[in-house]
Structures are given as structure tokens and as C-alpha cells.
Amino acid sequence: MTRSSVLDWAFERYEDLDFTAVRRWIEEAPGRKAAGYLPVYAPREVIRAAGMLPVGVHGGGERLEIIKGDAFYQSYICHLPRSVIELAQSGRLAMLSAMLFPSTCDVIRNLSGVWQLLYPQIYVRYLDLPQVADARIGADFWRGELAILLRDLCAVSERTATDAALREAIVTDNAARAAVRELYRIRRETPWKVPSEELYVLMRAGEVAPVEEFLEKTREYLAAVERDPGRPRDRSRVIVVGAFCEQPPLGLIKTIERSGCFIVDDDFLLGNRLIGADVPAEGDPLRNLAEAFVRSAVKTSIFFEPDPEGKRRLLSERVAAARADGVLFAAASFCDPALLDRPMLSAGAKAAGIPCMAFKFAENTGQFQQFREQAGTFADSIKLWGTQ
């Protein structure tokens, strides 16, 4: 399969706001059901062990006209919940039998309550991710929450969960995480081989496709990259920080890379690599998932940072790991986690002499000229004057 045919597959899923592929999957066998989840992180292994298809709901981007959604949210609340509501109110999410709302911020938390009120027939669960310094206490708590989630989803899917099903889901998700890590590694080391636009749509397709299909397509893409690596280019290497929940329009990602930058690390769709290591499949699978989350979740703004030096160090570490030249803070407007974190992260980066630039976006931003000028100037300044 060629790179373009994989990308066609991915674009089709990314652009389809009717979730046709999900509906098709449900219709292909009797009794199939799907569970949606909001950003940033949901335990997809548990959803699949309950026999359901995990479906990432990441809003409507710039492709969805908001008609009803604005009636649910004031102007000073980010764009994501209004487009998610728009998707639901227009019937596009009607195929979902469950919706999970992770503890990303208060807006997503309260959206769980809006869902309970608007769609009482749907199973709704708020996923309160553990946030304690004591890993034992956190893992005990999260294991209990995962057990409740599994029990409830099985009631929805009318399946019986087994440890074998959980282990199989863990093994498959480990493979998916490894494939994602490999794609990120190749882009980090040779960013001209994996343009961020392509990586992004592939990741977005992985949010709605069965994991086995995603793995197959990813492996085909990796093989295609090896066959056709592209021509090396010299651009400024940047990390894009802050877009872990509401997603930037694809045009913005393209604009950054067309303005003289290579994105060598980012926070887009962070949930697919939030657990940074393989989850053991042997033993108690729920305990393993809980331990993996507590011990190896990557550092991000949605979590409390127990290390007093952690915030200041974080970007230096990420910049060093990615061999980046600078940082672009790209937060969604009114995004509390990203915007409240920015002064701390920025102070750490500046103290380390890392060039930084900040802008805000909304998922439906349609004009990119200002970003092109900002990112272009930033890339030029790095090339002209380097890091401090």
C-alpha cells in the first residue's frame, strides 16, 4: 500500500463528521456497540475488553457549523464543548452507547453533567484520574474506578468481561502505543520523512478506527516512509505545547510546517501515548493498567506536578529529548490547563535559554496568515540568532 492510500484512508476518517466508519463497524455484526470519550485520556483497553469500540470525540474542528452548540455555552468558554454538543444535537453521535468524560478540566467535567441531562438513555461516566503523590494510594483508587467502568460498560454491551479479554486488549494497545512511539521517533529524528500533517491525520483516524486496523495502516505507512523517505530539509525544529485537548485545525499544523519549522514534538491527541511504557499483561490486568497510569503517565498540564522543580524542567527536558530549537505555545482560547500552565513552563524555558513564542487558536480558526507570519519570524530568528 502506498503512503497516499494510507493517508486517503486516514483523511476519510478524519474529515467524516458523521462517523461513517464507526457506524459501519457497529452494523457489521449484531450486538456491536461503541463508547465515545473526550480528551485527554481514557482507558481504551477497558472499553475494548467490554466488547465496545472506543471512539475519540475531538470536536468538529473548522468543518462544522455551530448552530445549536452556541446556545449551550457562554462566549468565554472554549470552543470544544459547543462543537461536541453540536455533533450530538445533530444526531452525529447517536450511534454511541456510552460517553466517557476524563478529568481534563472543569468544562469537560461539567459536560458530563450536560450529557446526563440531555441524553439520559446513554451511559455517562466521569473518569476521575488519580492525582496523588503516593503511587500506592493512587493505583488502588484507579483500579477500583477501572473495575466499576468495566462492570458498567459490560452491562451496556451485554458482554461478560474476562481477564483474558483485558489481557488481549492490553497487548494490542501496547502494540498501538509502540507504533505511535515509532512514528514520533522517526519524525523527531528525520522530520522531513513524516510531515506533521500526515502524522496528525493518521493519529486522528486511530481515534475512531478499530485498533487492529489502525495498527495495520500504521505499519503500512511506516513501510511506505522507508521506501520513500523524502528529501532532507533544514528548518527550525520546534515543539508545539498546549494543544492536548481542543485540537488545532489541520491548516494551523500545516501552516507551522510551511513557515520554516519542523514540529518535532507536540501534545496533539496526547491520550494515545499518555502511558509512556508497555503495560504488563500478566497478573491482574486492571491493577497493571492502574499502576501503568500512576507510574508512567507523561507529564502534562491536566495533572498536578508533585515535583517542585518539575514545571521549570519540563520544557528543557522535552527540548533536549527532541533536539528542538524552540517552543511554540499553542493553547486553545479559554483553555484553563494550558493557559494557567504557560507562565510556569515559559519561565522554565526562558531560564534555560530556549526561544519561545505563544499564540492562541480555536478549533474552528480559519485564517492562518497571522500564524504563518509569527511562526515564520520565529523560525527565522532561530536560524539567524540561534538559541540564547
Binding site: 467535567r109 461539567n110 466521569y126 492525582q131 484553563d336 493557559l339 494557567l340
Partner: protein
């Protein structure tokens, strides 16, 4: 109406808070440790059982706003890189710190010996204390209180919170204060808390009377001040609530209304339920928009952010850690939206409200996200017309007096029209 003034209890709570700020200023010299924490989920009894003094950053911010000082602090924080999009409480607090940490009453606030991040119903709290930790470089304890997404606290969640208090918080308090945990002392304090909570509930529920002897939103801000800040579980706190209850019962017996910026509001034209926090930069001006029209608030959700005592919760001295977990879990902003709707519906019915208003603040997603759904749902269930007002907590740029007054006057005219229709 009588000449505007203040009730005895209002003056008393003002003196109590001023005394607390003076004590805080003297704390470093007096050797009294200081613990910064938040109003929702505050563990005042535990903190004070270690002879430490609590500092509540939200109270500092709102008090600064009431004294017209928040705008300068916010500007200071925005100059330092804080976004215009985020919570103005945080920016007011950060700006105050950068400007020398002079508190709202003009006394210097001490540095914290411990930041106790009780993560109860507000995501911003987490970032707020991460920001303060950057400045103060002091120990920080994170107490994760699970959100009541399903409308109730499970036994496992309760055990999770109690376990954190036992294994993380108490050792941290022992370390920074140099004192051993004294459970008997804590029990005595919790016992006094329950007494004060009984009295506070009697005060809040007096609004069922007609005329209401209290304003349960603007007036309640004064009433909940001591129990939300530093005085829950203290002898002074218990005495204040006993005196407040007596004052309100005397007023009720005389069929008098509460003191408002327009004078005593004995003739009450509209009985309202209000959701959301007040604006603090123009607090009395905002209140006057209600009292000038004869509107009294008979129940509010804001007065429950520090505890939902009127639905039965009392601190239980027989189970100190469990009761603290229950308390944290039950604070208003830790409740799911359906629970918040049920609470408002109950208020509207039990307090025989004519109307229901939401005051939505730009700063607070915990309160504001979902309020338009709450509005529709409460209207649907009660048949009572809802109104929607918007401003902010402590950022005066978002307080538009003419706009708010217009909206309120239109809302009251609509209530009049409905009343006239129902009488014909």
C-alpha cells in the same frame, strides 16, 4: 425602607476577619505556622488543631476586589504573562503577591509554611497552587477529592480521601508545625463545627418565611464569611453563629427584612433563587440593583461552596477523617450538574421563589460551564422563569452596570407581567 446600614452580625464578622488578618501579619513573629488552602474542601479544624492559621486565597482576592484593589493586581499578573482568559482570582492573588503581598485590610500576609491543595470541585485550584509554589518554594500537599459525577460519593472514594488525609496530609502538618496529631483536640473542634452548622442552617432556612429576614445571596456572603474562612470549629466561630441566629430570629419575630444597600428590605416584591458567585468589584452596587426593586434572594448556591449543610451534612466528631472526606466531597462545586439542578429545583419550591437567576462569571468554569443547560432544566422542572446575567468575580472590566441593570429590570417586568396574568 430604613436608612442603609449594617446589621450587628455584619460588623461582627468584619471585625473577626480583620482580627484574623492582624494575627496573620504577626504570625511569623509569634511562631504560628501558616497553611494556605481553599474555601471548598477547607480542613480548618485539622489545620487549627496543629495551631496553624489558614489563609484562603479566594477570600483575599474577593476582599481586595471589594476594596477596589483587584484591578491593579490583575494588571500586574497579566504583565507577568498570565492570560486574560483565565480566572481573575488567580491573577488577583498572583498580582498581590508580586506587589508585596499586602492583604486586603492593609496588613502583610505571611508566606505559607504549607500549601494544602484541597482539590475540591475546581480544576484551577491545582494550577493556582502550582503557581504559588513557584513563588514560595514551600511544601505542598495535594488532596485529591473525587468529583461526584454519579451524584454520590462511593465508600471507595471516601476511603481514598481519608487515606490521603491520614498518610499524606497529617504527616505533612506534623512536619511543618512540629506538633503531633491530636485527635481529641480535633474532635472537640469538629463538635463546635456541627453546632455552628446547625445555627447557620437555621439562619439560611429562615428565608422560607415571608418576609424573609435575610438575603440568602448578598447577605449570606457576610453570614458564611467566618465558617468559610478561618473560624469553623473555633469557639469564636460557634459564638458568632449563635449570635447571628439570635439576631435573625429576632428579626423574623418582628417580621422585618434584611439590611440592604437600599435600607431594610421589609417590603419584598420578588423572592429569587440565585445560582453562581456574586461580582465582588461592585458588590453593593450589584446588590442595590436587586434591593431597589424590592427583590430578596431566598436561596443561593454560592453560599454552599463551603459546604452543603442545609441538606443535612454536619461534621461528625465520632469519625474525624471520614467526616472530613464527606465534607470535601459534598461541597457545591463538587456536585454533578444533575445534582446542582435538583438542588435549585428544591430551593425554588421550598422557598416559594418567584424567579430564578443565574449570575455567570467569566472566571469560573467550574460554576459557569453548563449553566445554560441548568437554566433550561430548572425552568422546565419548576415552571419558574429564569434569567441569565454575566460579569466576573474580581475583574471590573467585565462588570457592565447599565447592561446588568437593563437585564434585571426587564426580568422583573416579566415577573410582573406573569403575576398579573395569573391574577386575572
Amino acid at each position: 425602607m430604613t436608612v442603609p446600614g449594617k446589621d450587628r452580625s455584619m460588623e461582627l464578622q468584619k471585625e473577626m476577619l480583620a482580627g484574623h488578618y492582624r494575627r496573620l501579619e504577626a504570625a511569623p513573629e509569634a511562631g504560628e505556622p501558616v497553611v494556605y488552602t481553599f474555601v471548598p474542601g477547607n480542613l480548618t479544624e485539622l489545620i487549627r488543631s496543629f495551631d496553624a492559621l489558614p489563609v484562603l486565597p479566594e477570600i483575599n482576592a474577593l476582599q481586595s476586589a471589594m476594596r477596589g484593589r483587584s484591578q491593579g493586581f490583575i494588571a500586574e499578573a497579566e504583565r507577568a504573562g498570565h492570560s486574560e482568559d483565565v480566572c481573575s482570582y488567580v491573577k488577583c492573588d498572583v498580582g498581590m503577591l508580586k506587589a508585596g503581598n499586602i492583604g486586603p485590610t492593609g496588613t502583610r500576609l505571611p508566606k505559607p509554611d504549607l500549601l494544602l491543595l484541597s482539590y475540591t470541585g475546581c480544576y484551577t485550584f491545582m494550577k493556582w497552587f502550582e503557581l504559588l509554589r513557584e513563588e514560595y518554594r514551600c511544601p505542598t500537599v495535594f488532596l485529591h477529592v473525587p468529583y461526584q459525577g454519579d451524584g454520590r460519593q462511593t465508600p471507595e472514594q471516601r476511603a481514598y480521601v481519608a487515606s490521603q488525609i491520614r498518610k499524606e496530609l497529617i504527616p505533612a502538618l506534623e512536619k511543618v508545625t512540629g506538633q503531633r496529631y491530636d485527635e481529641e483536640r480535633l474532635r472537640e473542634s469538629l463538635h463546635r463545627s456541627a453546632q455552628a452548622e446547625d445555627d447557620l442552617v437555621a439562619v439560611l432556612q429562615s428565608a422560607r418565611l415571608e418576609p424573609s429576614p435575610i438575603d440568602a445571596y448578598f447577605g449570606a456572603v457576610y453570614y458564611v464569611g467566618p465558617i468559610f474562612s478561618a473560624f469553623r470549629g473555633t469557639p469564636e466561630g460557634a459564638a458568632y453563629y449563635r449570635a447571628l441566629r439570635q439576631e435573625v430570629e429576632e428579626r423574623a419575630a418582628q417580621r422585618l427584612g434584611p439590611m440592604t444597600p437600599s435600607g431594610r428590605l421589609d417590603s419584598q416584591k420578588y423572592r429569587l433563587v440565585v445560582e453562581g458567585p456574586p461580582n465582588w468589584t461592585h458588590f453593593r452596587e450589584f446588590w442595590r440593583m436587586f434591593s431597589d426593586e424590592g427583590a430578596v434572594v431566598v436561596a443561593s448556591t454560592y453560599s454552599k461552596v463551603g459546604g452543603t449543610y442545609d441538606f443535612g451534612f454536619r461534621h461528625d466528631a465520632s469519625d474525624p477523617l471520614g467526616t472530613m472526606a464527606d465534607y470535601c466531597s459534598g461541597c457545591y462545586t463538587n456536585l454533578s450538574l444533575p445534582e446542582r439542578v435538583s438542588m435549585l429545583v428544591r430551593y425554588a419550591r421550598e422557598y416559594r421563589a418567584d424567579g430564578f437567576l443565574i449570575h455567570s462569571v467569566k472566571s469560573c468554569n467550574s460554576f459557569s460551564a453548563g449553566q445554560l443547560t441548568i437554566l433550561r432544566e430548572v425552568e422546565k422542572r419548576t415552571g419558574i422563569p429564569g434569567g441569565f446575567l454575566e460579569s466576573d468575580l474580581v475583574d471590573a472590566r467585565y462588570f457592565s452596570p447599565a447592561n446588568l441593570k437593563n437585564r434585571l429590570e426587564s426580568y422583573f417586568q416579566m415577573l410582573d407581567a406573569r403575576r398579573a396574568r395569573s391574577e386575572t
